[in-house]
Amino acid sequence: MAEKVLLRHLDVPQIHRLAVYLAHGGYEAARKALTTLTPEEVTEQVKASNLRGRGGAGFVAGMKWSFLPKDSTKPVYLCCNADESEPGTFKDRAIIEWNTHTLLEGVLITAYAIKCHTAYIYIRGEFAFGARRLQEAIAEAYKAGLLGKNIFGTGFDLDVYVHRGAGAYICGEETGLIESLEGKRAYPRIKPPFPATYGLFGCPTIVNNVETLACVPSIIKNGPEWFKSIGPESSPGPKIYCVSGHVEKPGLYELPMGMPLRTVIYDYAGGIRGGKKLKAVMPGGSSFPVLTPNEIDVHMDFDSMRKINAFLGTAGIIVMDEDTCMVRALEIIDRFYHHESCGQCSPCREGTGWLHKLLVRLEEGNGRAEDIDLIDRIATNMMGNTVCVLADAAAMPTQSFLSKFRDEFVAHVTLGRCPLKKDGEGRRQAA
């Protein structure tokens, strides 16, 4: 792709500054939307573009907006989900820190489309720099009349607030985010009702991911057809792939949606580090099934991934080479979910901890043969039975690791140690 949409800072230095952004056509899409289109027309264009949510679920954004009740007298809120915490995912951060006004323009256009006058950007607490950048950009925008009262002289008002999270993965779950924003413990809510009808402070609310909102200005500027021409029609548009792990060139790659996973890893990220062999890839963050080397010809879009029982997720591609111990890798993943389970639902609260304890035991060489099936059983019992999908997010990688790399788990039991660990390597303590 010649011109970048989401990572424009790579082409245009200092584009996080309003002056630079304006000099490169910044806020023209917002002006077009606010001055020439009705909110309904904006929603229609975004719906027509088939922009699908980049937070991981892939729900059609314009469709989500159209679920807002038409007859409500309550205020509508927009929450930008900037609580990027998925392991292996660091795309939103680059947008927040370096393409700040792209995001803000997306927020402005979306707020206009959903008739919202107060938007919150809920940013992960650890993103201190990003929060500062956002605050500076918002100040610039207010000063230039791009936020606040009577934007572009249209009478449309919008206030944008930055809210920093306090360090919990679960705040990225949209209803957990809303609870946290309300000042409460981030316990995800039972759905239905969905935020579109009962969200922030009990009012209709749209929660969209940073990358999703950052796509919006380009759709308004270039039209839905242009957007749909990028990548597969069923999930089109530009996409940031986050590549981490054992590759030569880890980093962010903005490419069309639907790139073959192999191309991303080998052509863009430079292949496996040190010429080693690939062992496994987690293509969409840590919350979804792992892929083996013979599955990486899959195209990275929502629908193609589903066909092989995988998920695009956040496109946080975690690459593992042949030296990786899969038991240890899964132990680390499940340690994360154990640490991040909010503790609300019994299966997740207790199951994540149990999974982790069993994996520590296996990795240390103290596992029993029956533990492997027990882990699988626990994951089955957790899946689909909780308020939010954190339990599924722990269960899915767990079950896929067990089924695709079962031999390694068995080897840990039969050898009584990690086969990849050299003698004398220290054992980790149980969490």
């Binding site: 413990r185 640490h339 909010c342 503790g343 639902c345 019994s346 207790e350 689909g384 039975n385």
Partner: protein, 536 residues
């Protein structure tokens, strides 16, 4: 009204019910921990998962409202697997210390494990998450964090019912625990209700813990007599001893709750000062006699004092702690043809008594409204007029039923009025007034008698005899009935018989019977007339 099918059986229920409630109508139990009908839906325990046709995933019954044509299954293999899994999850970090846990016997973990779990443990004991035990939360409640299943019933009670929010959930995942917010104590007037809502042994009552195994206790429906609200309770007792009160659901009065003061009021029923034998005053003070001796003595005094001219010689004061039956019999006794007397009621509460806008009333008597309906608080005679007459020497015998005049009126007033009067005291305990008594008749407490109280709102509610009174004490209605018979009046064989007569003669009670009072009581049928009369 939606018609739905649960486990192959059709049921029609009112809209708005959830599936736990709808299944209950068919006698089908959907197990649950976090759901409580008096609190908001939390949906966290996942124990009530059921299968619903056309829904791919299991759904929580507590958060699923009935709809017409819904087809629900509560016992399919999928549901059973989920229930077993949830139980296993709940128990892996539970200490399984049932032998020393007060909840044993009324613990939903124990109950459901037997019903829905009963698997072999797959979790090593040493791997359990350790948390704090014996956490002192306030004057009434102790917390064991390891036993807690984090159902959030207690926090929801404190957020939604008392709105005091002393407790919160802290930390994350399996390290979550319940604790006090910094600087808070669980000391609101309703704090001990969190023990009732706790489905496991995490929250226990300081007063009750280690006192008794619950399976040894019997349970009797009753009414709290601490104030005029008339909260419905269950009395838990064994061999004539009360171990605890717990609130009993009554949608018209107290929902699921009661106050801490009322909960501990059972101690008032079994104090050291309990009267257990009839007493008469001899030269060396009060001495025990038989009922017959005591009643004969009173009859003699009444007969001797009863002159032919028909002037008032006998009077009665009934405390608003008496049941409707007792108050009625007192009035009957003193205004019957054989005895020319007067009677008045006494409803006394300490000045400035605590009250709130929820359950606690400033009127600390359980039956003020009943006495009102019987015309004892607004009739011709009053406590003042009776005491005035006594001071003037025109009252020879004064019956004082469950009313400590000394506490209510002060020693000076009592001394002045009762100098020459033969005082007959019916009461449960020694009190200020027994010092002035010529004859003391021991009567039953609320736990030991049948009867009714009328709460502040005019709801007539039954108490039932949980066990017989100690020693020779008798239910008040029976003691009064005996005296009545001794004086030539009718002899009543049961409290129900007294109530039947009362309902026939007192308009406010018209149409009421023990049968139709049921468990939740009934509003005064003659309320309109009563109020009309009061305002006239």
């Amino acid at each position: 009204m939606p018609k739905l099918t649960i486990d192959g059986r059709e049921v029609t229920v009112e809209g708005g019910l959830n599936l736990i409630q709808a299944a209950e109508r068919l006698g089908i139990e959907v197990p649950h921990y976090c759901y409580h009908p008096g609190l908001s839906i939390s949906g966290n325990c996942r124990m009530c998962l059921v299968e619903i046709e056309k829904m791919p995933k299991l759904q929580i019954a507590c958060n699923t409202k009935v709809t017409d044509g819904m087809v629900v299954y509560t016992k399919t293999p999928k549901v059973k697997a989920a229930q077993e899994a949830v139980l296993e999850f709940l128990l892996i970090n539970h200490p399984i210390d049932c032998p020393i846990c007060d909840q044993a016997g009324e613990c939903k973990l124990q109950d459901y494990y037997m019903d829905y779990g009963a698997y072999k443990s797959r979790f090593p004991l040493e791997a359990k998450v350790r948390k704090r035990k014996v956490v002192d939360l306030g004057p009434h409640v102790v917390l064991d964090q390891e036993r807690c299943i984090l159902c959030a019933r207690c926090t929801r009670f404190l957020d939604e019912v008392t709105k005091t929010s002393e407790l919160g959930i802290f930390s994350r995942g399996d390290h979550c625990y319940i604790d006090l917010f910094p600087g808070k104590r669980l000391d609101n007037p309703y704090s001990a209700n969190v023990v009732d809502v706790c489905p496991v042994g995490a929250l226990t009552n300081k007063d009750f813990r280690f006192k008794a195994r619950v399976w040894y206790l019997e349970k009797t429906e009753s009414i709290c007599t601490r104030c005029a609200n008339g909260c419905n309770i269950d009395i838990y007792h064994r061999r004539g001893e009360v171990f605890r009160f717990r609130p009993r659901y009554n949608p018209h009065v107290n929902q699921y709750w009661m106050c801490d003061e009322g909960r501990l009021w059972y101690k008032e029923l079994q104090r050291e000062s309990r009267l257990t034998r009839p007493l008469v005053r001899g030269t060396s003070g009060l001495v025990p006699v038989t009922w017959d001796q005591a009643l004969s003595r009173i009859a003699e005094q009444v007969t001797q004092a009863n002159p032919a001219d028909g002037s008032i010689v006998m009077a009665g004061i009934v405390g608003a702690k008496a049941t409707n039956e007792e108050a009625y019999l007192c009035a009957r006794l003193l205004t019957s043809q054989t005895v020319a007397g007067v009677v008045a009621g006494l409803s006394w509460s300490p000045p400035g008594a605590f009250a709130d806008d929820f359950l606690i009333k400033a009127d600390k008597n359980p039956n003020t409204r009943g006495l009102q309906a019987l015309g004892l608080l607004n009739g011709e005679a009053s406590v003042d007029s009776i005491l005035k007459a006594a001071a003037e020497g025109s009252v020879k015998v004064l019956v004082v039923f469950a009313a400590d005049l000394v506490t209510a009126l002060g020693r000076e007033v009592v001394e002045r009025a009762l100098g020459d009067v033969q005082v007959v005291v019916f009461d449960t305990d020694y009190s200020g007034i027994t010092e002035y008594a010529d004859c003391v008749l021991p009567i039953a407490t609320v736990a030991e008698t049948d009867g009714t109280f009328t709460n502040y709102a005019g709801r007539v509610q039954r108490v039932r005899q949980a066990f017989p009174p100690p020693g020779e004490a008798k239910p008040g209605w029976e003691a009064l009935s005996r005296l009545h018979a001794k004086l030539g009046g009718a002899h009543y064989l049961s409290a129900a018989e007294v109530f039947a007569e009362l309902a026939k003669t007192v308009p406010a009670f018209a149409g009421l019977t023990y049968g139709n009072l049921g468990s939740h009581g009934a509003q005064f049928t003659g309320l309109a007339q009563e109020e009309e009369r009061a305002s006239a």
